[in-house]
């Protein structure tokens, strides 16, 4: 367990090595690092050994508070990793007196840190938002189509995929509470295979289970092709999604 937690946190990077080196530096440089030594050294070592990596503590924590390793790994928040590394770097930088050596020192340091890890930007986690709400354009447009039509609150059915990355579903939910999204969580493949082959049965069951006036579906899906036969009219479209409204 301890190994898994450490692997999860350090993610095979050399940051553990850098952090350990910084702790060793603090142990060595008694005079320069007087204040930081007091603050970081005892605390970091004690917390890491007696709390984070203590099997007894892990067992208690999992019994009462945590159920996943991903949750327990947040225990590392109490370890001043960044502060320790920055402190030692600053101390090293200040101890080099000559300007040329300082520049060389900074350069070496930057290279070491850069090759040890990468930035969040380089991992491609970010996108430029399509609107001020920072949700997908389709979510915003489809929400507004329904809200303009209903004038108050609306019950809608939407195909919600299993994964959390369902930007349309969560975009609408984040934007407004007035559209109630009633649907089952179905993965795309199952939905097409199991339900569309017997669409009438599926539809009957859906109408028995939930009440709704609006349906949001993929433009090219089977549902879209058959829905107009179920007394639903086309209301609007955005991106790859279509909104249908129950006929009066």
């Amino acid at each position: 367990m301890i190994e898994e937690i450490n692997e999860l946190f350090w993610n095979n990077s050399s940051y553990l090595l850098i952090y350990t080196l910084c702790i060793v530096m603090l142990l060595r440089e008694k005079n320069i690092c007087k204040k930081g030594r007091k603050m970081f050294l005892c605390y970091s070592i004690a917390v890491y050994i007696f709390l984070i990596c203590n099997p007894l503590f892990i067992a208690i924590a999992f019994k009462f508070f945590f159920s996943l390793k991903e949750e327990y790994v947040r225990m590392f928040y109490i370890l001043p990793i960044q502060e320790t590394i920055c402190y030692v770097i600053t101390i090293l930088f200040l101890s080099i007196m000559k300007q040329k050596k300082k520049i060389l020192g900074i350069f070496i340091l930057v290279v070491i840190v850069l090759i040890s890890s990468n930035t969040f930007i380089s991992q491609g986690l970010y996108v430029v938002p399509e609107n001020i709400y920072k949700i997908s354009k389709e979510s915003l447009e489809i929400s507004n189509i329904i809200l303009e039509d209903c004038g108050g609150e609306a019950d809608a059915v939407i195909r919600k995929e299993e994964n959390a990355n369902d930007s349309l579903y969560w975009g609408i939910r984040q934007y407004t509470q007035k559209i109630h999204l009633k649907s089952e969580i179905i993965s795309g493949d199952d939905f097409d295979r199991e339900y569309y082959e017997v669409f009438d049965d599926y539809w009957k069951r859906l109408e028995e289970e939930v009440s709704f006036d609006y349906v949001i579906c993929d433009d090219n899906s089977e549902m879209c092709k058959q829905i107009e036969e179920k007394r639903f009219d086309f209301l609007g479209k955005s991106g790859g999604y279509v909104v249908y409204k129950r006929s009066d």
């Binding site: 005892c42 004690a46 928040y77 600053t90 369902d166 407004t176």
Partner: protein, 342 residues
């Protein structure tokens, strides 16, 4: 007007409250220190008010008006005290000729601009949090909406870990007060405030490490740089700082925990005063409002520091001090257990 709302709640009131709490003797014109303490106070006060309203199963607008009224009254009281004691607004002397200072500003500014102009394409758990904030504002209930469907539900159906978290109702108050959609508040407005606050905490932290101004700036630049390149894992403080900085976990990891770390150190290692202990209690209370995890993590930091300092100085007073400082966490823990059993 909307901008004024944010400035009132996130700048003006924290500063006044911080001044009120920190006391004239310790104030000494330290703007940053009083501002951080004030910011934690507004979270802490909200947590206390929220718990009463939530247990009473009252509506959101009651929470909203109670909180704004209490804060405004405290604000007026703070101004009166400041005027009576002739306290001057004095910002720490800034060495404007220092190139390092500009470099530091640039790095923080770049991080802010990046987060304002970009968004994460992955959703993580932010969808549920923003949904909950928006549901609170639009439905006038406190966690009375099923965040999956948007339909009304009984509060008892809400997970207790959310019920004990006051941070998202706080964001709802912020959104309602400024009349701005929670999506804009969280993803665009809050990084403008929270990122500088996290660096302010580190700036305060640095005063315990270095005496010289230049060295403190160097430390802050290093911190900003490490923050930028520490993309080795999605469980680090840097990740919180660079991604969903408005989330409760991020506020806990980037602002509250570093504050608790250096502040408890300053108490147990240096001057031990009732006022400082009270400020630490405020920080613990604010942490309890962010996430259930905050209850445990802040207590662990304080008790570890207290224990280490007690052994070093052979002084048991620190341990008692630590336990007193953790009392808000103890109350939250009892509530947590009651909710869990129920």
């Amino acid at each position: 007007m909307r901008i004024l709302g944010f400035l009132y709640l996130l700048i003006f009131l924290p500063f006044i409250l911080g001044n009120l709490i920190i006391g004239k003797k310790e104030y000494n014109g330290n703007f940053i220190s009083s501002f951080i303490i004030g910011f934690l106070s507004i979270l802490s006060i909200f947590h206390v008010v929220y718990l009463f309203i939530m247990i009473g199963r009252l509506q959101f607008h009651i929470l909203y008006y109670c909180y704004i009224a209490i804060l405004s009254l405290l604000g007026i009281f703070g101004i009166i005290i400041m005027m009576k004691e002739h306290r001057k607004f004095k910002i720490e002397r800034i060495h404007l000729k220092s190139k390092l200072l500009y470099l530091c500003f640039l790095m923080v500014l770049a991080q802010m601009i990046w987060q304002i102009t970009h968004t994460m394409f992955i959703y993580g758990d932010d969808f549920s949090y923003i949904t909950m904030v928006n549901d609170i504002v639009e439905s006038d209930t406190i966690y009375g909406i099923n965040y999956h469907t948007g339909e009304l539900q009984d509060v008892s159906d809400t997970l207790y870990k959310y019920l004990l978290t006051s941070y998202y109702p706080f964001l709802a108050v912020l959104a309602k007060f400024c009349n701005v959609h929670p999506l804009i508040v969280c993803k665009t407005i809050l990084p403008i405030f929270l990122i500088p606050i996290s660096y302010m905490v580190e700036w305060e932290f640095s005063q315990y490490l270095f005496i010289k101004y230049k060295n403190r700036i160097t430390y802050l630049i290093c911190y900003s740089f490490i923050n930028f390149v520490a993309g080795f894992s999605w469980y680090t403080v840097s990740f919180r700082s660079w991604t969903w900085v408005w989330q409760s976990k991020a506020v806990l990891a980037t602002i509250i925990l570093p504050f608790v770390f250096y502040y408890s150190y300053s108490i147990f290692e240096g001057e031990f005063s009732k006022r400082k202990l009270f400020i630490l209690m405020i920080a613990v209370s604010a942490a309890c409002g962010t996430t259930i995890m905050g209850i445990g993590l802040t207590s662990l930091i304080i008790l570890s520091q207290a224990m280490i300092c007690s052994i070093r100085h052979k002084n048991i007073k620190n341990i008692f001090g630590g336990i007193i400082a953790c009392s808000p966490a103890l109350i939250s823990m009892v509530l947590y257990l009651i909710f869990r059993i129920m």
